[in-house]
Symmetry: C2
């Protein structure tokens, strides 16, 4: 699955993923009013609004972008209707030919992780038929519970041709609270990266890693530990990382990365830089994504 | 909120929480057939079946049990209809007067954790009104991202009178992959426990901790670090822990614990020990829960 994603990145010359992390406050007033008129001023109406917002963005970028990453928290915030909007977003992105990384950061004891893995990346058997409940292509996984919590995802990935990105070093300011703690001179994130490498060998499957652009000094080291992994790199743009911070994550072939931008793309219509787009969500997203591709083209 | 939970535990003399972790295979054939007849042999039908199964258990135990803990993965496995069954379970348990711990193990960067916190423990404002999307009383939280990922939960808890349990030492066999790694002679789970203590002082709020019954040797140490926290203790019963493994977790007043059992209660109807219940899911659950209360009463 990582190979297919890399191929699409190469064809489009775009190692980018658009974070579909909608917040009601990001949605233009008109779109909100239409949604409330249709579904009510309630969770259903809010969910409709964020789905419409996503659609406007996806319609404008699907031909220049390999992949999107909806953050499921932004949908769970609106309860069951929000989760339905998440599922509709995944389906709509697939219709448009985009790969979907479910940013779900799940991870639990074995039997529970299996339930997440089947629900998000695999199938459940009901009677004589298989159903694919959420059907993302990739998911992010939290490693705090160790291999028990990761292995079910690897099994499901192998069976259905999907992939996971394990959190190694996150992009947030306090990621160091635990991830930087030294274990025999090595920070925890390196210990996790080495485990990811081991698991990848043991289970004969590629495993991606999440590592924030906000910590470029760790990029070089993580690439040494994980020479063949694809890195999912959040923290570009709004969180402060730039193209120069990304370069250390490249593999020997100058590939193997996919850089996320969320607000920088989906809220571009509010950015003075894109005022020529006259507040058009899609047009501004496309312009911002084009700029991001160019910026990253330099590395 | 922890005080209210402790009061209810005291009144019922039951430091127990029933894990509502349904799997379609656990549900009696007849209940499955009724559900499929009503909703179809699909995700909706499966979700209906697990909700009915939960109802049978809740109806039989609500007067002797303070609290339930649905594991959301078991519902996400069945997609959006499954998540709806989760929400319906939370609501039904509230109707019956039970506290609900959402076993969601979420944790992310700040703005994202805020979305989870609002969705699960708090409210979202839409137009002029507040909506409580999932409305659990407590939630479990994964600390791997540090305080950024925990703080939004604490803020929402303070505002709405809810509580969280932070994963400190999980009950699964590979929890040691990272949680046991030594940082200046201390295992990571102790470092996490100390942070939980610090955060609790800093934000002036009680924070619970998750620590597995399968590792009783760590119970005493964790209780020293967190003298006032409530411990949510999984791993009793099916995972191998017994009453003697629980004792070290007690606080100075012989309180401050809530012990989870899932399969041991919800699948009791298949256990030879409860064959007098003649396969009645609810009756057997009540019998098993009564036994568990007695077993724990000894400590």
């Amino acid at each position: 699955m990582f190979k297919k994603l890399q191929e699409k990145i190469d064809v489009l010359k775009a190692p980018v993923v658009v974070g579909l992390d909608p917040v009601l406050d990001y949605v233009p007033r008109e779109m909100i009013e239409e949604s409330f008129a249709l579904k009510g001023e309630n969770l259903e109406g809010a969910a409709e609004a964020i789905f419409r917002f996503n659609k406007a963005i996806v319609d404008a970028i699907y031909d220049i972008c390999p992949c999107v990453k909806p953050q499921i928290a932004m949908y769970e915030r609106y309860g069951v209707p929000g989760v339905l909007a998440y599922k509709n977003t995944v389906d709509y992105c697939h219709e448009k030919g985009l790969y979907v990384i479910g940013d779900i950061k799940r991870g639990d004891i074995g039997s529970t992780s299996m339930a997440y893995a089947q629900g998000h990346l695999g199938a459940v058997r009901i009677g004589e038929k298989d159903f694919f409940p959420f059907d993302e292509d990739f998911a992010t996984v939290n490693p705090y519970l160790g291999i028990d919590g990761v292995k079910p995802f690897l099994e499901v990935c192998a069976k259905y041709g999907r992939g996971i990105f394990v959190l190694v070093k996150t992009s947030n300011p306090s990621s160091g609270d635990f991830q930087d703690k030294k274990i025999d001179e090595e920070p925890l994130y390196e210990v996790v990266a080495k485990k990811v490498f081991e698991w990848s060998k043991e289970y004969g499957t590629a495993i991606g890693a999440v590592a924030g652009a906000t910590y470029p000094e760790v990029g070089k080291r993580l690439r040494e530990i994980l020479p063949e992994s694809m890195f999912l790199i959040p923290g570009y743009g709004a969180q402060g990382g730039g193209a120069k911070d990304i370069a250390p994550f490249l593999d020997a072939n100058k590939k193997g990365i996919i850089v996320n931008s969320s607000r920088g793309i989906i809220c571009a219509y509010r950015n003075d830089k894109y005022k020529d787009c006259k507040g058009d969500v899609g047009k501004a997203a496309r312009a911002a994504l084009t700029d991001m591709r160019e910026d990253l083209g330099g590395i």
